[in-house]
């Protein structure tokens, strides 16, 4: 089959397997696993069931936004810890919330172009491990202290200490803010709520549905993409622990807005959770599939990245999905299932509104006709990041992996995964079950 779009003219890119950790909600302290630990946990179990040795991978590509200070080029650390050996190269990609999907796209490009046959790609994030930093003025004093030789000089430095020197900088909060437009991610969600007139009740209802869908999917065993993690204290983590079964609209309504504190609508309850987790996929060319007799579970058909107003970054998915549908000649109804990462309930709802809005479709997306909303029973059928969590670097890989599971479960053919990206971007990936096209009725 001829590739169109991003991988045009290249070889087919197959998904042969995938695995993820349970997503662990961040508590007030650093979680039990660093980002590399998470990816190694998911990767060890994934590679253990393959017929090839880890050394036979061509490369490892990992998306990660906030690795610990001792995890520079975390992909290489992960590859070595997975037993890939010194000869398998590894690199880390960073496109904010799109990082996990970027890793898949980079891997797919290398396979399509013939540079690689077998790649481990995905994302990992331990948001609870985000570093806490000293402000620059304090670092400056520290530098002088280290150079100071005499007691007098040191006393002089101490005398210059002011309360402001102890104002710690939380990398996580900085990471979740846009320095160019000076807005937190939550505030960009508030802007969308305002623009599309999305009420607090609508957001909370969406959030509640996400939890209910995830809980139902857990009960039905629909998260078979998860392998347990084992802590050094013997604790076994086997499922996503952010899913709340006791939630209801009344409780959600009690929560205070966290971003625009006075009159805002976006609360912790209708936003994605701060979470630790990793998701990995194994991508292969036809050559690798034949060499190791690998199962072809799915195919990455196309991928697109789009830029938009950073203050409305939550609409990124419609900007990224639209060009894929156009160039692949697909109508909205030819997509069987959709995953749009739930950074904020309101942001998913805004995407739905935007695709129904004649002006938005015309002015921003260049469409003659509005695309129309995605049917609710086709979108995030097992819940999303509001319930499961959004470890920023991994979510892109998680939604693609889970989408494949949804397609398999429903014997469906085609799925679209998409997410909004802080800084004003959107990313989208089109996949098909199996080799693609073989089950198609058209």
């Amino acid at each position: 089959m001829e590739n169109k779009g991003t991988y045009a003219g290249g070889r087919a890119v197959y998904i042969v397997d995938g695995n993820r950790t349970p997503f662990l909600k961040a508590q007030a302290k650093a979680g039990p696993f660093a980002a590399a630990d998470l990816a190694v946990g998911a990767g060890k179990a994934l590679l253990a069931r393959q017929p090839f040795a880890p050394e036979q991978l061509d490369e490892v590509i990992i998306g990660c936004i906030i690795p610990s200070p001792d995890e520079v080029n975390i992909a290489r650390i992960i590859a070595l810890r997975l037993g890939c050996g010194k000869k398998v190269p590894a690199w880390t990609v960073q496109r904010n919330c799109g990082s996990g999907m970027q890793a898949l796209d980079s891997a797919a490009r290398n396979i399509a172009s013939g540079q690689a046959d077998l790649i481990l790609a995905g994302g990992s994030e331990a948001m609870s491990h985000a570093p806490v930093l000293l402000p620059p003025a304090t670092v400056e004093l520290l530098g002088e202290w280290l150079k100071a030789r005499s007691l007098g000089a040191r006393l002089q430095i101490l005398s210059r200490l002011r309360p402001a020197h102890f104002q710690l900088v939380f990398a996580l909060l900085k990471g979740l803010s846009d320095p160019v437009v000076n807005l937190s991610m939550g505030q960009t969600a508030e802007i969308l709520a305002q623009r599309f007139n999305i009420s607090r009740e609508q957001m909370d209802a969406y959030a509640l549905a996400s939890h209910r869908r995830s809980a139902a999917a857990q009960d039905a065993g629909f998260f078979s993409e998860i392998s347990p993690l084992y802590g050094r204290d013997g604790h076994v983590y086997s499922s996503d622990d952010g899913v709340r079964r006791d939630s209801d609209l009344a409780r959600l309504a009690q929560l205070k807005p966290v971003f625009d504190r006075s009159f805002g609508r976006v609360t912790a309850g209708n936003s994605a959770q701060v979470t630790d987790g990793a998701a990995l996929l194994l991508l292969a060319s036809e050559v690798a599939v034949q060499r190791y007799n690998l199962p072809v579970r799915g195919r990455i058909v196309d991928c697109a990245w789009a830029g938009l107003d950073p203050a409305q970054m939550g609409l990124g998915p419609v900007h990224a999905m639209t060009p894929i549908l156009l160039r692949q000649g697909l109508s909205s109804s030819s997509i069987d299932f959709w995953e749009i990462n739930e950074a904020f309930a309101t942001q998913v709802l805004a995407c739905q509104q935007a695709w129904q809005d004649r002006d938005y479709c015309h002015n921003e997306l260049g469409l003659g006709q509005p695309w129309g909303a995605i049917p609710a029973d086709k979108l995030n059928v097992d819940g999303g990041a509001v319930a499961i969590g959004h470890p920023v670097g991994s979510s892109g890989a998680r939604i693609v992996l889970h989408l494949l599971h949804v397609l398999e479960r429903n014997q469906a053919e085609r799925g679209m995964a998409s997410l909004c990206i802080g800084g004003g971007q959107g990313g989208a990936m089109l996949i098909e079950r199996g080799r693609g096209g073989e089950h198609d009725d058209n």
Binding site: V40, K44, A45, A48, R49, P51, R81, L82, G83, P228, Y230, G231, R232, D233, G234, H235, V236, S238
Partner: protein, 681 residues
């Protein structure tokens, strides 16, 4: 540059243009350096050459990858028959090292890898020592473990260098130090990455560092009366080793207490003390055990493709601990159990052992990465070796084998950790029975050195050999045994344990029974051991053995297990661990109790020897020592029979048979032992 010509086999002496002499030991015909007589004599010749035309400085080092010098050549000890010969040899060695110490120029030892015993004594005869800071470098004077103490001036030079108390602690424990720890006590002058050793030596020659003074605490302690300190040392040694069983540490304390101000006299006293120890039965037996240990190791050498991936099935105590141990030793391990909570416990125990053993955070992480919990059993298909460690039920094991055999790699070995089920009963489930072997580990895996490598009549010889190589690779001792019920260790241990239970049943105090065994030299009494192993496990092994041998299971054991008193793990067995029951049997030892315990053990050992469960008496002795802790200074059960007199022991056994019945009936093998004794006499 000038290099010495032959006639030197072991040493190489090179004088460089800058006037520094390099003296390299590369012992001929061996992969490790040891101080044999010929190595020492050559050194003596070379020291003569060096003294005649002194270089600016002399640097000693090893030409072996494996390390500096592992110690004296202990095989030469076996040829020493009398005290006078011993004294002459020791005095000669001392004088050669003294010649080195007396050289009027800077001398520096560059140390990597093992620097033990005589090797460290040689380094101590140099003015400076520089050691590589890697994990392979170990320094120490472990002579007490062979029933002697340092004899080439080590007792004198080490005490002078690091202080009396530090030195005595090192020599009495026999423990070895990493370079950084050696630096801390002043044993070495630098602990550095290996790449810097030579640079450091050159720098030390151009600017000799001052000699270190002892820390004030050491100097203050040394002011205390020696008699007081010696008394405290004796007390702490007595808690671990009996004076009559292990005389060396006591001799070392006496030697130190009597040190005078003149080094020469102290060297002479050291030599006399070692000469006396070295011909004693403890040293001889410990040396024999050491050599047998080397022999067992040799049975695992040089065989086939090494095992890299191990899959263990069964996450209980044994399966989990085997998996943990393999991961610690660098293998890739998957551990399978349906119950993920048990796998969590395995990871927890692994993290604890790795932290204790490895200390370095990255190494601990790497070991944990190698230990993969595998609830779905994916590891079966990739493993070089699959070890089954599920509960002791032949049907369950056979059904498991039928499930996994189709998934095994063609060259994979299947091993069972069964402690008592004959392999023939299990192999019947396999289409390729020749690939089944037994790898019987003992609890606790990280402490017990022995692993029985069990063969069934169908086992393939090359597969067994590969199994033995695996055992050696994970730093355990392989002992080849045939697949008779209970194999060697449990079979020999069980009559001894059951006799102890019978004694308690008859009304003896458990502590009194245990005391009789520890007085004989067992590391732990049989009742305490049964509590530690678990009474349910003892009962299960005893029951299986009773199907094959005339073993009666005492009612008391069944009753305790039925009452849920399983020993340590349930908080209560024969002893009540909940209330810190540390009863000691007092100092009085009932030899009648000891006789009943030990003779049953010896009788079973004779039976195993006669049946050929192990292919030689020596290996049987080694197996029983490393598998049960049987008093090492007695050299093993067969050696003990030899030393005590087979005829004497047989008569006592016959007496017990008359008093207590057929469980003391002597095995027919005794007759052969008595005949051999008569012919020797």
């Amino acid at each position: 540059m000038m290099t010495t010509e032959e006639p030197y086999n072991h040493w190489r002496y090179t004088l460089e243009g800058d006037g520094i002499g390099w003296l390299t030991l590369d012992k001929a015909g061996s992969s490790t350096n040891s101080l044999s007589q010929s190595v020492l004599e050559e050194l003596d010749l070379l020291l003569g050459v060096i003294a005649a035309t002194p270089p600016k400085a002399l640097i000693l080092r090893s030409g072996k990858v494996s390390g500096f010098i592992a110690g004296a050549d202990v095989t030469e000890f076996t040829t020493i028959s009398d005290e006078a010969t011993a004294l002459a040899l020791i005095t000669r060695g001392q004088s050669i090292l003294s010649k080195l110490a007396a050289l009027p120029l800077p001398t520096i030892a560059l140390i990597h890898g093992f620097c033990l015993g005589g090797g460290l004594e040689l380094a101590l005869a140099c003015q400076y020592r520089v050691a590589s800071d890697d994990a392979a470098t170990r320094l120490g004077l472990p002579e007490v473990q062979l029933g002697i103490h340092p004899g080439f001036g080590g007792t004198v030079r080490l005490t002078a260098l690091v202080g009396d108390l530090t030195a005595m602690e090192l020599m009495l424990s026999g423990r070895t130090l990493a370079a950084k720890a050696a630096l801390k006590i002043g044993l070495v002058d630098y602990a550095l990455p290996r790449r810097h050793l030579e640079n450091a030596a050159r720098a030390m020659i151009s600017a000799p560092p001052p000699h270190r003074r002892l820390p004030w605490r050491q100097r203050m302690l040394a002011l205390l009366p020696k008699a007081l300190l010696a008394g405290r040392m004796r007390k702490s040694v007595a808690a671990k080793a009996d004076r009559h069983h292990y005389p060396a540490p006591y001799a070392l304390i006496d030697l130190w207490q009597n040190f005078g101000s003149r080094d020469k006299a102290n060297y002479a006293a050291e030599a006399a003390s070692v000469a006396k120890l070295i011909i004693g039965s403890t040293a001889r037996n410990l040396l024999r055990v050491f050599l047998l240990q080397e022999e067992l190791k040799a049975t695992g050498r040089g065989a086939g493709v090494p095992i890299r991936r191990v899959h263990v099935i069964g996450g209980g105590t044994m399966g989990g601990d085997i998996a943990i141990w393999c991961a610690l030793q660098g293998l890739e391990v998957t551990i399978q159990d349906i119950d993920t909570a048990r796998l969590g416990q395995v990871v927890k125990r692994g993290a604890a052992l790795f932290s204790r053993q490895l200390k370095d955070g990255r190494a601990i992480q790497a070991a944990l990465d190698r230990l993969l919990p595998d609830p779905s059993g994916d590891g079966v298909a990739k493993a070089d070796l699959v070890i089954e460690a599920i509960f002791e039920d032949a049907d369950a094991k056979r059904s498991l084998y039928r499930q996994i055999e189709p998934r095994l790699r063609p060259d994979a070995i299947l091993a069972t950790n069964t402690s008592s089920i004959p392999l023939q009963e299990l192999a019947s489930a396999l289409t390729r029975p020749e690939r089944l072997i037994g790898l019987h580990f003992f609890n606790p895996v990280d402490k017990m050195q022995l692993v029985e490598v069990v063969s069934s009549p169908q086992s393939d010889a090359a597969i067994l050999q590969r199994g033995a190589a695996f055992v050696l690779a994970i730093k355990r001792l392989p002992l080849a045994v045939s697949s008779s019920p209970g194999f060697l260790v449990n079979r020999i241990l069980m009559p001894y344990l059951l006799e102890a239970v019978t004694l308690v049943e008859e009304g003896r105090d458990p502590a009194q029974v245990d005391r009789a065994a520890t007085a004989f030299g067992m590391p732990m009494g049989p009742i305490r051991l049964a509590d530690t192993v678990g009474l349910d496990i003892c009962l299960s092994v005893a029951t299986i053995l009773s199907r094959h041998y005339p073993v009666e299971v005492p009612e008391k054991l069944r009753a305790l297990v039925a009452a849920g008193q399983l020993g340590k793990k349930s908080g209560r067995g024969f002893y009540d661990d909940r209330h810190g029951d540390h009863r000691q049997g007092g100092s009085e030892v009932d030899t009648a109790i000891a006789d009943r315990l030990i003779l049953r053990l010896l009788n079973e050992a004779v039976a195993c020897w006669r049946e050929g469960v192990v292919n030689s008496g020596d290996r049987l002795d080694a197996g029983v020592i490393f598998g049960t802790g049987f008093a090492p200074f007695r050299g093993g059960p067969l050696q003990h029979i030899k030393a005590s007199g087979a005829a004497v022991l047989l008569a006592r056994l016959q007496g017990l048979e008359q008093a207590h019945g057929h469980r003391f009936t002597p095995d027919p093998g005794w007759q052969e032992l008595v005949r051999a004794e008569v012919s020797r006499a």
